[in-house]
């Protein structure tokens, strides 16, 4: 069990070469990264328009919010929990932000207040899970319907339009690149550094690997759980703001199946479903991989209605590979 706790980030014994150590630590991330490149190459041979600026832009910038949410979700899963309410919360955050912006509040209030709200909501959810010991799946399943139902009853599904131009942070283009891309890259790298190099980051792995062993080592699993959910709230909040500002209207509904896409990205990116191992970089790559697949289906004239079946197959294959690898390791 302690092996499982320590097996990922600085993996391998000193006797192995740096290349071997890299492969042992980042194998899944490498596979996902390669898959993106191969897919881009393959599809662009069939249809060169796939590589056009607008398409690459819509693939990466348009899905940056999913990647950001998946980074937060990775930490939750590494800690041994799950959050099914992430999609609903993104919908709520986007609607609150849009409403504030339209009501004439300064844009920084419209950006920051919803993010603080997301942190507060998720920290409360984390505290509820940690101290009542009710499984996170049940609590977040309940939260999913509370947030979703609450949002639709409050707004009636009305769209928010006439958003002030200064509010559209995801569309701003410093140095010609959409700011959503900056957010995605910077937040992923920050989280990757944080989780591998801070005491709190390490305690997330420890609690996810074996929470009683972590407690024996002087870590409070309850506090780590609350902290992880608060951190996940920060990422979800930012994802919600990116989602709110990437189009000219906010639909005031919950994006369908968003939680599934976010969880799938985290799992395919190499986070073990059993907790305790994984990195956050893979989640971002996997989010891009999904977007690429979705776009590739269109460019290859395959009906987009098959997308979910492809995602389902991918998550199943990844999970099975993970279980087989674990069985071999023990």
């Amino acid at each position: 069990m302690t092996d499982a706790v320590l097996s990922r980030a600085p993996a391998g014994s000193p006797s192995r070469s740096p290349v071997q150590r890299f492969l042992a630590g980042y194998g899944q991330e490498l596979i996902v990264g390669l898959a993106v490149i191969v897919l881009f190459a393959g599809v662009s041979i069939v249809n060169p328009r796939f590589l056009s600026d607008t398409n690459i832009n819509s693939i990466i910038a348009g899905n940056a919010y999913i990647a950001v949410a998946a980074v937060g979700m990775s930490m939750v899963i590494i800690c041994g929990h799950i959050d099914l309410s992430v999609g609903s919360l993104i919908g709520v955050i986007a609607t609150v932000a849009g409403t504030l912006a339209v009501s004439g509040y300064p844009v920084w209030v419209a950006w920051l207040l919803p993010i603080l709200m997301a942190i507060a909501i998720n920290a409360s959810v984390g505290a509820f899970i940690a101290y009542t010991r009710i499984p996170s799946i049940v609590v977040t399943l309940g939260m999913l319907s509370i947030l979703k139902g609450g949002l639709i009853s409050a707004t009636g599904g009305a769209w928010i339009s006439d958003l002030p131009p200064g509010f559209m942070i995801a569309q701003m283009r410093p140095f010609g690149i959409p700011s959503a891309v900056y957010f995605m890259v910077v937040l992923t790298l920050l989280a990757a550094w944080f989780i591998a190099n801070t005491d709190f980051g390490w305690s997330i792995y420890a609690v996810g690997g074996n929470s009683e062993a972590a407690r024996a080592a002087g870590i409070s699993p309850e506090r780590v759980t609350v902290g992880v959910f608060a951190l996940h709230g920060l990422f979800t909040g930012i994802a919600g703001i990116l989602f709110a500002t990437q189009l000219q209207v906010i639909q005031s509904t919950v994006p369908p199946n968003l939680e599934l896409t976010v969880i799938t990205a985290a799992v395919i990116g190499g986070v073990s479903i059993l907790g305790g191992t994984g990195t956050v970089i893979g989640s971002t790559l996997a989010a891009i991989l999904f977007a690429t697949i979705g776009s590739a289906l269109i460019f290859l004239n395959v009906s987009a209605y098959w997308l979910r079946a492809v995602l389902g197959l991918m998550i199943l294959a990844t999970v099975l590979a993970d279980m087989i690898r674990r069985r071999r390791a023990t």
Partner: protein, 315 residues
Amino acid sequence: MSRTFLFRYETVLALLTVLALATLAMLSAKFFTTENLLNQGRLMSEVGLIMLAMTFVIVTGGIDLSVGSILGMTAILLGVFWQKVGMPLPAAIVAAMLCGTLAGLGNGLIITRFKVPPLIATLATLALYRGLAEGISQARSVRGYPEWFFFFGQGEVLGVPVQLWILVICTVIAAVILARTPFGRATYAIGANETAAHFSGIRVDATKLWIYTAAGFLASLAAVIFVSRVTTTRSDMGTGIELDVITGVVLGGTSIFGGKGTIIGTVIGLVLIQALKNGLALSGVKGDGTIVVIGVVLIGAVLAGALLDRDRGGS
């Protein structure tokens, strides 16, 4: 000890249900009419059928999130087999239900052969089966079924909706299996302590395979009733039904940690949820408001169960 606890929890729940029914009857004159009650029975049958299987699943300590997708996939296959493939409708029904049952068997195989946690396995198949429904149907609906087919979803026998008869029969069978047979005892033993169950000679994997397959079967039976009731087939049928199902089962006193639960409790949970939905709708709350109430009720029920359990020095 746990028997008295269960008895108490169910009694409390039954009283709560009676109280809710009485309140609703006072709030709306329409609620306690025979017509409304029978109609509610019609509406709750699909969820109820799946809840029976879900009770077994959760008693073993597992979960099945894919039931709504199996329902959708079966419904789509039913339409495609009949309209596109040209099978006679009875054969199409059987073939589609066979596929739905196999989908449940698939869940069971992934969970028992590869030791994938049920939550993750069925989260993956939730996407896969719904994806197949969307891909196969290309989001086109199928309609124009012959008149006799509507018997399952709209017909009556002795003045009671057909699907309510089906639900009652299945409920009795499930209750007997869970409470009175070696299979039922194996189900509880697995949920209480899987390793111990294994070493006392219980065929853990075989039992789980049967249970997940049964979940697939009942989800596809619900699909046939659903299609017959609404007269069309759409690929989004049953989306989110797993939430209602799990909420009802947990509300009925089945422990999410496994090892505890009864079919009677599940039935009370089903009635309470349907009464809440119907009552709120009659008193003017829109559908989305009821989702909030169900979410609160789910968390509240699990919390109450956990607290009661802790007070008695439980698991």
